[in-house]
């Protein structure tokens, strides 16, 4: 049964097109990852689904409620943790959570009880009565995520929950999210990191320029990239074009040269080890010295390259994570 249904969702901000006909379907009790670079339309999608924005066109239902006509009722059954930790630094962690409970129309006693539960669960009980401004970045993010759970939502929206966190805090947050999913919460997660979507999401939709350009499991998406990626960096940057000429034809589907870093990446399918050896041999034959060579998992950039033919480089982000209207050719 689908708990989120989106059909032909469109949204523009003046001349800027944020969503250009997005379709989504999310099954109950699953984690759905919305993957894309800055400005792809992920945040705008979340803001519409959480009733913060009205779409220009299209239909969206969450937990059976229309996001426009039944917004008030819908807000009782959803939770949202946005990109920035939305907490009041002057209040304690406990007060922040109690406040959110009151916004869900809970009685003061019930709000206090649930705040206590969340603080225990997110390992914040010891810091509960300290002002939130004294919390570390990871603690603030955990408190923010905890706040989105005080109302025990059926559907939880997490907008880039780990952006800006150090690796340790990111791993901790992933554990918490996995636990939530085990308990049956339906989760829509936006992220710029393929690894994050890979670890957490059952289904991933890749968004680019306001459209869903691919969807599937992480394995299915990676298969479209062609399995692993061979990454090569040469010591002498002036010889990058020469090195690219020698090895770009190795893989089953092209490759690319990053002009900023001088890195050459080639999708190599399941034949990584053999092609790595072959690349070393060819570069050695050309007398090109290697700085680094490795086989790695595909990144969002690799997925984008495979799906769109262009990299997911960060474009300047227009307001609300949007992009300029494309002109007709």
């Amino acid at each position: 049964m689908s708990v989120i249904e989106v059909e032909g969702l469109r949204k523009s901000f003046g001349e800027v097109v944020a969503l250009d006909g997005v379709d989504l379907e999310v099954a109950e009790g699953t984690v759905f990852g919305l993957l894309g670079p800055n400005g792809a339309g992920k945040t705008t999608t979340v803001r519409i689904l959480t009733t913060l924005l009205h779409p220009d066109a299209g239909l969206a239902r969450v937990a059976g409620y229309d996001v426009v006509r039944e917004a008030e009722a819908l807000r009782h059954v959803i939770g949202l943790a946005g990109q920035a930790a939305a907490i009041d630094p002057n209040l304690t962690g406990r007060e922040n959570l109690e406040m959110v409970g009151r916004l869900y129309h809970l009685s003061p006693t019930e709000a206090r009880r649930r705040a206590g539960e969340v603080l225990e669960r997110f390992d914040l009980a010891e810091a509960a009565d300290r002002p939130a401004r004294t919390y570390s970045g990871g603690m603030r993010r955990r408190l923010d995520l905890g706040a989105s759970l005080v109302g025990r939502p059926r559907v939880l929206f997490l907008d880039e929950p780990t952006t800006g966190l150090d690796p340790r805090s990111r791993l901790e947050l992933w554990d918490v999210i996995r636990e939530l999913v085990r308990e049956g919460t339906t989760l829509l997660l936006t992220t710029q990191y393929l690894e994050e979507a890979d670890r957490l999401a059952d289904v991933i939709a890749v968004v680019d320029r306001g459209r869903v350009i691919a969807r599937g499991t992480a394995d299915e998406l990676k298969a479209r990239v062609g399995g692993e990626v061979l990454a090569v960096r040469v010591s002498d940057r002036s010889r990058v074009p020469e090195a690219a000429g020698a090895i770009l034809g190795l893989g089953p589907g092209g490759g690319k040269v990053d002009n900023n870093t001088g890195e050459i990446t080639i999708p190599v399918g399941g034949d990584g080890t053999r092609l790595l050896v072959e690349a070393v041999r060819r570069l050695d034959a050309e007398g090109i010295e290697l700085a680094d060579i490795s086989l790695r998992r595909p990144t969002l950039d690799d997925v984008f390259l495979a799906l769109t033919g262009h990299a997911a480089e960060e474009a300047p982000t227009p307001p609300n994570g949007t992009r300029r209207r494309r002109r007709s050719p």
Binding site: R47, T51, L52, I78, A86, M99, R102, L103, A147, G151
Partner: protein
């Protein structure tokens, strides 16, 4: 309503713990104390009794400082919450945008009133020794009009905040609004007076268009039976409508200055991206 009160409680708790409100309360308290002591000293120098000059000084302080505080507090409210992502978080809960505005206003009004109460409380401690029974009504009018005019400033500030792009822009507009209301309108009227003869309607509009002037006249109304201390606008109101009518008109103007920006803010917030 429950959710609006929750937002009010949140705002109040956050505001009273902020350095800005704490600093403003202490500064206002010190100013009230200073003005009171200087006023009483001048009075004793003339060999007189009562609270007159001290109260007059407090009137000027009361119609200038609390509105500025209210404007700045209000301006930082929604714009600041929007910048920090708090506004979107709150709006994603079962609460209407109008209730968010109302809750924000009520919470900050509580903080503002606490600040004013602290300032006047300190002044009252000093005045208690020399005040007579007949001074109670003027002092009550002073406190009431100061709270009212400060609250109107807060309403305007919240209105500015609903439209501002960020906290800095909101603060700049709030400061500009204060200068216009505190000085600009009087200067403009003084400049225009020789050229334009303001008729009765013009005088009335000049008062109603400036909540600070309305607050000043309201504070002085109980002590100025002849209207001499009220200035030309106040004297006209007193002459035309009598003390009760003038009082009601002034209170109405201040209430309108408070409610209208809040209503506009509620509508704006319902349409704007949070």
């Amino acid at each position: 309503m429950k959710a609006a009160l929750a937002v009010a409680g949140w705002e109040l708790r956050g505001a009273v713990r902020s350095r800005f409100v704490l600093g403003a309360a202490l500064t206002f308290g010190a100013m009230c104390l200073g003005v009171t002591l200087l006023g009483l000293d001048a009075l004793r120098g003339l060999g007189l009794a009562g609270v007159g000059p001290a109260a007059a000084g407090l009137v000027n302080l009361g119609v200038l400082v609390p509105p500025l505080l209210g404007l700045l507090l209000g301006a930082a409210s929604l714009a600041g919450a929007r910048e920090r992502g708090l506004l979107a978080m709150v709006a994603a809960h079962p609460i209407s945008r109008g209730a968010i505005v109302a809750g924000t206003f009520l919470g900050l009004a509580g903080a503002l009133w606490t600040t004013v109460a602290l300032g006047f409380g300190l002044a009252s401690l000093v005045l208690a020794g020399v005040a007579r029974v007949r001074d109670l009504a003027p002092l009550g009018a002073l406190v009431g009009s100061t709270l009212a005019v400060g609250t109107a400033g807060l309403g305007v500030g919240v209105g500015i905040s609903a439209f501002a792009r960020g906290r800095s822009q909101a603060a700049a507009v709030a400061l500009a609004a204060w200068f216009v209301l505190a000085l600009g309108m009087d200067l403009a009227l003084a400049g225009l007076a020789p050229a334009v003869r303001l008729g009765p309607e013009g005088l009335l509009v000049a008062v109603l268009l400036n909540p600070l002037e309305a607050g000043r006249i309201l504070a002085l109304l109980p002590t100025s039976a002849g209207g001499t201390a009220l200035g030309p606008f106040g004297a006209f109101l007193l002459d035309r409508f009598g003390p009760a009518g003038a009082g009601a008109l002034l209170v109405g103007a201040i209430v309108a200055w408070t409610a209208a920006p809040l209503a506009i803010a509620g509508r704006a917030l319902a349409r704007r991206v949070v």
